[in-house]
């Protein structure tokens, strides 16, 4: 699996974010390079939620950050609302970035414990000198209300006084302060309990509707993604495996890796006995990824062709694209 290719790109007016052939590498000394993201292309339409799914180390977080030029990618283009972010001078990039915000994985450590909730949520407005002091105060109250926190109770408290779920609500309020048009959520619920997860997922859905957001939702859990996304992109070791609608991906995954991910989700039903564990071992090192298809070392259907030639993304069903020489049928 794991291929390049652009067959899945949609060239219509609704595309807000277009990423082409993005490459992110990290030098780790002794001439070694981590191939975190290798020639990944994708696009996101207005009002859509694109989910990026894969195991730890597949490059999904790096990809999300590279969209924001954190750090700038080695090569490739990131075009947001017609502006190529990779070509912008620093100051213009800073201001372009206010339209795109990120919600991070660990809600407790991503908030400064010395700042009050008021300061945390107001900080972006203050940095960008938006509104008068009264207007900012009103905005903070409105944001906190919208994420389900009572401003009178929380404004003067600090993040360590809150639970993980509440901290994630504060993070979301903060990310919405500048009224972004795009929200990139990096595993926003993976640090939370199941019962709180559902609350935050519903909140993100509400915020998306209320603020007309376009969203990129990064997660390792296909079950979480199912509820929130319109389109899913599965990644493995820095490459795209499969792109499609949630219904297509879940009912007939074409990539062997997608299928293994789906079969790894625990089912809360003791009468449904599980078969063998779908995937053995761990992903190979991104310092020296396998030749050809990067998934071939763990793939049940791998052949010589997979080692020799890298599969390109192609359409297997309408709207479903897979990078595999031997897709599941």
């Amino acid at each position: 699996m794991a291929g390049s290719g652009t067959a899945h790109m949609r060239n219509n007016d609704e595309v807000v974010l277009e990423v082409r052939d993005l490459v992110v590498e990290f030098k780790i000394g002794r001439g070694l390079v981590v191939n975190a993201v290798s020639k990944v292309s994708f696009d996101v339409c207005r009002g859509e939620t694109l989910a990026i799914v894969g195991e730890s180390g597949c490059g999904k977080t790096t990809l999300g950050k590279a969209v924001l030029q954190l750090p700038p990618p080695k090569s490739g283009d990131v075009v947001f609302e017609g502006t190529n972010l990779t070509k912008l001078p620093k100051e213009q990039l800073r201001s372009a970035r206010t339209a795109m915000q990120m919600v991070f994985q660990d809600p407790i450590s991503s908030l400064d414990p010395r700042m009050t909730v008021r300061a945390l949520v107001e900080e972006p407005l203050w940095i960008w000198e938006r509104g008068t002091e009264e207007e900012r105060g009103a905005k903070v109250r409105e944001l906190l209300n919208n994420v389900g926190l009572d401003p009178d109770l929380v404004l003067n408290r600090r993040s360590y006084e809150f639970s993980g779920g509440q901290c994630q609500r504060i993070s979301i309020a903060r990310s919405l302060a500048l009224e972004p048009r795009m929200l990139i959520c990096d595993e926003p619920v993976s640090a939370l309990d199941v019962s709180i997860q559902a609350q935050i997922l519903n909140l993100l859905q509400d915020m998306k509707d209320r603020y007309g957001l376009t969203m990129i939702f990064i997660s390792h859990d296909l079950a979480v993604v199912k509820a929130v996304s319109n389109r899913i992109m599965v990644m493995y070791l820095g490459k795209v495996c499969e792109v499609g609608s949630p219904d297509a991906i879940y009912s007939k995954p074409a990539h062997h890796y997608t299928s293994a991910l789906i079969n790894s989700v625990p089912i809360p039903d003791p009468t449904r006995k599980r078969g063998a564990v779908p995937l053995q071992g761990e992903p190979p090192s991104p310092v020296a990824p396998p030749s050809g298809c990067r998934f071939r070392t763990r793939c049940p259907a791998a052949t010589e062709l997979c080692a020799a030639e890298e599969p390109q993304l192609r359409e297997v069903n309408p709207g479903q694209y897979v990078a595999c020489h031997h897709p599941r049928t």
């Binding site: 019962s195 609350q199 296909l222 509820a227 089912i267 809360p268």
Partner: protein, 328 residues
């Protein structure tokens, strides 16, 4: 079958500046020899404190513990700290939640792994090394000899958790406590680790307590489940019985809040609104009343007792599921 661990009327309170915090309230639980028991609940439900108290791992001047814990026909609660410690390794062992911080970062895997066999089983260096290699292959680590010389930071989360399991199994414990062993891991690795634990348990005829917040995890890997809420067991039953004949609204709510792979896309998720009650100020009625969608007046004022529904199924609810009164 006899019980390897039997917890009777366990109460754990902590003294805090805000008053007495009641973490575990009157918990009784039997763990049969060779069985696998799941303890399920949200953060703050008391599941971790309960399992640590049962192992005698809670100490300090602010801890108030009552009740008895019998392990392998010995009364743990009557023992001195050093006598309890002698049970660790060969009697019971624990796998902690976070494989990133549970290993010593400045000691090699080999030295951490051979400590148990050398101290508890009196093995010499050579025998302990051989045992370490055997253990690493047992937890399916490729090239175990090379692993002995590595430091924890050189390993991925899944590999560290395998090493943690190997350390816990080093002295062939009779009972293994696994506290959220897969919460910090990816789904694919989670499936591998859970399968590994189930296989090893069968091979070694070991009993296991699996502490988790995910009912999906217990469904396939336990024989018996106890659901905890606000420091109490609110429902307990054999696993198949629990899932087919759920009595407690809280268990149902927990189950519904799990994102499911076959749910409709874009559908709203079922949530449990609100939070656990304040542990320093427990409500007089049912602890779940404020969040329960079936709540009645009686629930707010009277504390429900544990009711026996037969088949080893106990629950703590005035209006259990399947009951006609108060159903919407």
């Amino acid at each position: 079958m006899s019980a390897i661990l039997s917890i009777r009327k366990l109460v754990v309170n902590f003294e805090t500046p805000r008053g007495l915090l009641s973490a575990v309230r009157d918990v009784s639980l039997e763990i049969e020899q060779g069985s696998s028991v799941g303890i399920v609940g949200e953060s703050g439900s008391g599941k971790t404190v309960m399992s640590r108290a049962a192992m005698g791992l809670l100490s300090g001047s602010t801890v108030r513990r009552e009740g008895t814990v019998m392990f392998d026909d010995k009364e743990l609660t009557a023992m001195r700290a050093d006598e309890v410690r002698d049970q660790f390794g060969t009697g019971m062992a624990m796998i902690f939640q976070d494989p990133m911080t549970a290993l010593n970062p400045v000691r090699r895997i080999g030295s951490q792994l051979s400590e148990g066999p050398r101290v508890r089983l009196g093995m010499d260096k050579k025998a302990a090394r051989a045992r370490s290699i055997e253990l690493l292959s047992l937890v399916r680590i490729p090239d175990p000899e090379a692993m002995l010389n590595k430091f924890p930071f050189q390993l991925s989360g899944g590999m560290r958790q395998r090493v943690m399991i190997a350390i816990a199994l080093a002295c062939k414990p009779k009972l293994l406590f696994a506290d959220e062993p897969t919460t910090a891991l990816d789904v694919t690795v989670q499936a591998q680790i859970l399968q590994l634990l189930s296989d090893l348990r069968r091979e070694m005829n070991m009993s296991m307590v699996l502490v988790t917040h995910d009912l999906g995890v217990v469904a396939n890997h336990t024989d018996f489940v106890a659901v905890m809420y606000a420091g109490e067991i609110v429902e307990q039953a054999p696993t198949t019985e629990l899932f087919s004949n759920m009595k407690m609204p809280y268990t149902e709510a927990l189950l519904k809040s799990i994102p499911k792979i076959d749910s409709a896309s874009g559908a709203r998720m079922a949530v449990i609104e609100g939070r656990l009650p304040d542990p320093t100020d427990r409500p007089s009625g049912c602890g779940f009343a404020a969040r329960c969608s079936y709540v009645q007046d009686k629930c707010r004022t009277e504390h429900p007792p544990l009711v026996d529904a037969g088949n080893g199924h106990l629950y703590r609810c005035w209006y259990p599921l399947g009951h006609t009164i108060g159903r919407k």
